[in-house]
């Protein structure tokens, strides 16, 4: 073992405190240090992942107190997989945003990279932590970074988006605290594994109250339907790479948290059905809202919400296949939607309103970026042989195995809607006349490398899904193994 999970939080924090100091000495360091940190974390994540695949989960205690007392971090196949994914995407986003906008002053640049790093750290913390209040703290870290990053551009309506996000985020934290209180008042512990092992002792009424508030709170972060008013605005107004980070990192962490809670903490079977219903509604509403969008990023945002709905549906099946499908979907969505956001940002780089019609005929001027966007579109609607197909297939297979005919039919119908709006954009990119007044912006080299990396992953996974399915199977088995999780955490000395 080359490191311990706590470094995922400690190193970025240390770096975050160091950046202002270094920034006084060498201005470029504010951009460089987060990259170095993320690269290190990626190496660490891969190392730990290798270790975990062989030796089973790593449970790390903090401050030397064995789990029910101290806070613990769990780096299992499931959480480790997500952490690796997040850190990787974080690195990609960092690489992309390095010099994304030229002529950015020192102060905003410093803040941007600092907040971006903390956004990733917060999300990673949400995934790693094994303590429910610690989860709350990490959610807040993520949220505050997210508010600030959403409002990063001063010229736009970004503050409005950020304010909406903040309103809902505050409600989320209030609900989360209420739920934590209910659980704590009954079980006297905050450790997730401990709660999970004692949950059957709790009165059903309290259990239900707690899960309702927890689910709502995490649902706000995870963009499920009636709670996701902030999401389209935030995605659309945040800087392009941040949109990618939201779709690829933050939401994934929120989904992880809600799933961990439903699978490990509670033993309510109704929660699974609720997941399916809510996920389905989210999927339908989001995709139907996306088809009529006029702004590119808003469209991508709604599409992202819809995909999250599908992930919820897959998790709601409650079978190992369903979990596998959901994880595959999350992986693909993280990669592909990031690719779409990153390349899409360059397609509408100079435009003020970011309208879809401004991408008309841009394929000739930005060939690689456009190609990558189209690749992403094809992949996300699930056309083989790209990555998205395998996850869609696994979702449907899992649904068929659970005998959910209606779900299959609805998912497929909604997919048709998805096809329509993505293909409309693809058509515009390649087969329309370019509007003369729209000026294009060539991507920087580092942005190009970032996007091509993602594109390559889309292709590799598309042609050779075995590259990830092994990890995913381990991860899904890990999530299903509730007793194992509890045992791993609680028997630690």
């Amino acid at each position: 073992m080359v490191g311990t999970p706590v470094l995922f939080v400690a190193i970025p924090l240390l770096a975050a405190f160091l950046i202002p100091l270094f920034g006084m000495i060498w201005k470029e360091s504010v951009r460089v240090i987060p990259g170095i940190v993320l690269a290190y974390l990626l190496v660490l994540a891969i190392n730990l992942m290798n270790y975990v695949m062989v030796n089973g989960p790593i449970v790390e205690v903090i401050a030397g107190w064995a789990p029910p007392l101290g806070i613990n971090l769990v780096f299992s196949a499931f959480s480790g997989f997500l952490v690796t994914l997040m850190v990787f995407l974080g690195l990609i986003v960092w690489m992309y945003s390095y010099r994304f906008k030229r002529n950015v002053d020192f102060e905003p640049a410093k803040k941007y990279f600092l907040l971006l790093m903390m956004l990733i750290t917060g999300s990673v913390g949400m995934v790693l932590t094994g303590d429910i209040f610690n989860l709350f703290v990490f959610i807040e870290i993520t949220s505050i970074s997210a508010y600030a990053l959403t409002a990063f551009y001063t010229g736009r309506d970004s503050a409005e988006a950020s304010f909406k996000y903040l309103m809902l985020g505050s409600l989320a934290s209030a609900f989360l605290l209420i739920a934590i209180m209910i659980i704590y008042s009954q079980l006297g512990t905050l450790n997730m594994a401990d709660i999970g092992s004692k949950m059957h002792l709790m009165k059903p009424a309290y259990k239900i109250m707690a899960i309702i508030f927890l689910f709502t709170a995490l649902g706000i972060e995870a963009e499920i339907f009636p709670l996701n008013g902030w999401a389209p605005d935030a995605y659309a107004e945040a800087p392009g790479p941040v949109g990618a980070a939201f779709a690829g990192i933050v939401v994934k962490a929120a989904i992880y948290a809600s799933i961990r809670i439903i699978y490990t903490l509670f033993d309510l079977s109704g929660a699974y059905d609720l997941l399916i219903v809510i996920g389905m509604i989210t999927l339908i509403v989001a995709e139907t809202a996306a088809i009529r969008q006029e702004k590119l990023k808003r469209m991508l945002a709604y599409s992202s919400i819809g995909q999250m709905g599908l992930v919820m549906v897959a998790f709601g099946m409650g079978t190992e296949e369903g979990v596998f499908a959901a994880l595959f979907l999350m992986f693909n969505h993280a990669i592909i939607k990031s690719l779409l956001f990153l390349s899409g940002s360059y397609l509408v780089y100079n435009s003020k309103d970011k309208l879809i019609k401004e991408v008309n005929g841009i394929g000739k001027f930005l060939p690689i970026t456009s190609f990558l966007f189209v690749l992403g579109s094809f992949a996300i609607v699930g056309l083989p042989p790209f990555a998205g197909f395998w996850s869609k297939l696994s979702v449907l297979t899992a649904a068929a195995d659970s005998n959910m005919l209606l779900i299959i039919a609805l998912v497929l119908i909604v997919s048709i809607i998805e096809v329509v709006y993505y293909m409309r954009v693809v058509n515009r990119i390649y087969f329309f006349k370019k509007d003369e007044s729209v000026s294009t912006q060539r991507p920087t080299l580092n942005a190009l490398i970032a996007m091509i990396t993602l594109g390559a992953i889309v292709l590799i996974v598309g042609f050779y899904p075995d590259a990830v399915t092994g990890f995913l199977h381990r991860a899904s088995a890990d999530l299903m193994d509730k007793a194992g999780y509890i045992n791993d955490v609680l028997t630690l000395n």
Partner: protein, 234 residues
């Protein structure tokens, strides 16, 4: 119309929350039978193995020190976020909006009070492990001291760089102590100093060190928050 709907919704929600909590009960042990609460272990360990008088402190700094680290980060991020959100291209340091042009009484009063407040704050966070109070409280008190000065004196400026250096150093101390613990004790934030005797100033291992760092950090951060907002002309 909208008001009534909202009131109705809130009434329903309030009803369910209240009955849950009334049912849980106030002021007595409401734990499920057969569950050993963590707090007993905390109380015992605090006094027996950490030799810290204030259990809240020991929890905040040691048992759940990770939360505190996160919380300090939240504040740090809030300051950064404020700066980012309110950033304007031509930011002039001297420009500020004053709330009141303070009278003589206020200014001289503040001048007198300021050292006292800072001292009180320092006392509070140094004795965090012994008596009520600690890093947050002390830090906040110091920040109020600065607030007073900022309000009273039109030209009272706090060096932005100074603030951020203090903040960074304090943060590094916290995280550094944590990593030191990881290297020496085997886990992050683990205590690696002798715990001393109960109710001594030098007891509780790393707790005072961390709390002092937290105190400085919180003070610097809150001052930073006020400073940023105050220097913002609408």
């Amino acid at each position: 119309m909208k008001k009534f709907v909202v009131i109705l919704l809130l009434a329903v929600m309030g009803y369910y929350i209240s009955i849950t909590f009334f049912d849980i009960g106030f002021g007595d042990s409401h734990l499920v039978e057969g569950v050993v609460p963590v707090k007993d272990a905390y109380l015992n360990e605090t006094v027996n193995s950490l030799n810290v008088a204030n259990t809240v402190t020991s929890i905040v700094v040691n048992f759940r020190g990770f939360d505190t680290l996160g919380e300090v980060t939240v504040l740090f991020l809030a300051v950064t976020a404020l700066g980012g959100i309110l950033y304007k291209k031509r930011h002039q340091a001297g420009e500020r909006s004053v709330l009141f042009s303070a009278s003589k009484v206020v200014t001289s009063g503040s001048k007198l009070l300021f050292p006292a407040i800072v001292l009180l704050g320092a006392y509070v966070f140094i004795h965090g492990h012994l008596s009520p109070g600690g890093g947050f409280q002390g830090g906040v008190i110091i920040a109020t001291g600065f607030l007073l000065m900022l309000l009273a004196y039109e030209n009272f400026t706090v060096g932005h760089n100074t603030l951020s250096v203090i903040e960074s150093l304090a943060g590094i101390t916290f995280a550094g102590v944590g990593i030191w613990g990881l290297i020496y004790g085997g886990s992050f934030l683990e205590n690696f100093l002798p715990v001393g005797t109960l109710n001594d100033l030098f007891s509780g291992g790393v707790i005072p060190i961390i709390y002092i760092a937290v105190g400085f950090k919180v003070a610097a951060e809150l001052t930073g928050v006020i400073y940023t907002v105050l220097h913002e002309k609408g």
